[in-house]
């Protein structure tokens, strides 16, 4: 049985995370064979939504976790250590609006406030604050591309890997906010009390 419990994100980061764990000697076959099972005791893996990973790690319910930088940016108050940039899951957090005339810029000029739809309300609010522009943030839970097409908002703040979905919906990237990759995070207490086990894992990561 594993000494460390690792929170692994289901979704787009899952495959590469399992590949990485395989390479450092953690057996992930059981995870690949079970779509519904959540807790894998032999390997120490627990699977969950990426945005739940910091919650489990902060509470110490998992010693380590893998999640995107976008998730960590949206939950900046989580008390977790960010140990390693794993490099994969490369995405960009962008501001996008409908192609053609930039309606967001027009709204800012003529109305003083731009409406931005996003699944990342805190990232978006912080970005507009830091760039000195007033924004009304509209939180949506899915298919954020719909918002500018229907007039819900003038622009969106969202994560994009290739830009294909944005293009297919007639949106263009106007600004890049951040580059996001997968990160290895740790519970601060476990980082001290299980230092040897965590450092061994980090060494194996360095080696691959």
């Amino acid at each position: 049985m594993s000494e460390l419990r690792i929170a692994v994100p289901r979704g787009t980061l899952l495959f590469e995370t399992l590949e990485l764990l395989d390479r450092i000697g953690i057996d992930t076959r059981e995870v690949r064979e079970n779509e519904r099972k959540l807790l894998f005791e032999d390997s120490g893996i627990v699977t969950m939504r990426p945005s739940d990973v910091p919650t489990y790690v902060e509470a110490g319910a998992a010693e380590l976790g893998v999640t995107g930088r976008d998730v960590l940016m949206e939950q900046p108050e989580r008390e977790v250590y960010e140990l390693v940039d794993l490099g994969y899951g490369h995405c960009r957090m962008v501001l996008a609006t409908a192609a053609g005339e930039d309606l967001a810029a027009e709204a800012l000029r003529r109305l003083g406030v731009v409406r931005i739809a996003t699944k990342y309300p805190r990232v978006a609010a912080r970005y507009f604050l830091q760039t000195g522009r007033q924004a009304e943030i509209v939180e949506v839970k899915g298919s954020v591309e719909l918002a500018p097409l229907t007039g819900l908002a003038e622009g969106i703040v969202d994560l994009t890997a290739t830009g294909t979905t944005l293009r297919e919906n007639g949106l263009v990237i106007r600004e890049e906010i951040a580059v996001c990759t997968a990160r290895l995070i740790a519970n601060p207490v476990a980082h001290k009390l299980k230092a040897a086990a965590i450092d061994r894992l980090l060494e194996r990561l360095d080696a691959v």
Binding site: G60, Y81, E82, D85, R183, A186, P188, V189
Partner: protein
């Protein structure tokens, strides 16, 4: 049917309590009280008389401390609340109000600053060392969750006028005696030095204006961000490697072996403290070269209490050799505070194994 029972009427209002506060009922209170009684008995036995200070203090008391690079008190106290959190000597007070004369009052965000004030005003001539303990609530604007209340009970001591390493060792001995009396069995104490990393930054010639950002990455435990900041300094490889390696060094006395040069000097203070500890305390120590506590008044040794049964620190403390000076009595000092609610959570966790987790 009377109007008050109609189904479409809103449910009767429940009187809420402010976010981050909670009620304590008799079963829990009995356990808390038994635990704090045992802790207080340890403090008294070691000569730390209990004090109580007002929950309300003038904002100026908490805003008062040397500014960066000088001992001039911060000007413009009426705008003190605008300062970034890092510019406060202690935790930034979250609750402020006016009294009938228009003075700004704050609910204390810790007990160390009120006791520093108390020492300077009530004991201006007393021969040090002075020993005080407290069991009192403090108030901070934290994100409420289990073990993270905005009103929280602290049990702690302050040892005023006892320099390192002797004073630090005494505080650690009392800390472990208190944790033992509380009933904790598997805890460890991380020991670091707040001056260590700044000294390294100085030694490698990191520009002063970059140091604050580097230290704040360290406080947040962002090793990825730390790596980025260090890369931007464009230091020789061996210096960059040193700055990256040091915060990751943690473990038993063996991790201090073979450290030389600037780093060897910097850990000398930790070695001295360790040598003075009672054996049962020394074996609890984890040397942690990356330990930086976020409170600005720490100047030397810093420590933090961990328990495998709980994912967040239970308490901590350190040396604050300059804080008393801003109150007019320049005495070296050290202290710690235990977070009573977290201590209780950890104790319960130890009793039931790894809590709700599947036993391993």
């Amino acid at each position: 049917m009377s109007a008050s029972h109609r189904a479409d009427e809103p449910a009767p209002a429940v009187d809420r309590i402010p976010s981050g506060t909670r009620d304590v009922l008799p079963d829990e209170m009995r356990e808390l009280r038994a635990m704090t009684d045992r802790v207080r008995e340890v403090f008294e036995r070691h000569g730390y008389g209990e004090v109580y200070t007002p929950a309300l203090e003038y904002e100026g008391t908490f805003a008062r401390a040397a500014g960066p690079g000088g001992d001039v008190p911060w000007p413009g106290q009426s705008t003190a609340w605008r300062r970034p959190a890092s510019a406060w000597p202690g935790a930034r007070p979250a609750y402020r109000m006016f009294d009938e004369q228009g003075n700004v009052l704050v609910l204390r965000s810790d007990m160390t600053i009120p006791i520093a004030r108390l020492v300077a005003t009530r004991y201006p001539q007393a021969e040090p060392p002075l020993r005080f303990s407290y069991l009192a609530h403090a108030y901070r604007g934290v994100r409420p969750q289990r073990g993270q209340s905005r009103e929280f009970l602290q049990a702690g001591v302050e040892l005023i006028g006892a320099p390192a390493p002797g004073g630090t060792a005494e505080a650690l001995n009392v800390l472990c005696a208190a944790l033992g009396a509380a009933g904790l069995r598997t805890y460890r104490v991380g020991l670091g030095d707040a001056s260590l990393y700044p000294a390294l930054l100085e030694a490698v010639g990191a520009p002063i204006e970059r140091r604050e950002r580097i230290l704040s990455e360290l406080v947040e435990g962002n090793f990825v961000g730390l790596e980025g900041e260090i890369a931007e300094l464009q230091l020789p490889d061996k210096d960059a490697e040193l700055l990256l390696r040091v915060p990751r060094i943690r473990g038993g006395p063996e991790v201090l072996e073979g450290l030389s040069g600037a780093l060897g000097d910097a850990v000398g203070g930790m070695r001295d403290v360790h040598a003075l500890l009672a054996p049962e305390v020394a074996e609890r120590i984890i040397f942690d070269l990356g330990l930086v506590r976020s409170l600005g008044y720490y100047t030397g040794a810093v420590f933090q209490v961990y328990d495998p049964a709980y994912g967040v620190p239970i308490g901590g403390g350190g040396r604050y050799d300059e804080l008393l000076r801003s109150f007019g009595r320049h005495l070296p000092a050290v202290g710690f505070a235990l977070h009573v609610e977290r201590l209780h959570i950890a104790l319960t966790g130890e009793e039931r194994g790894r809590g709700p987790r599947i036993p391993r």
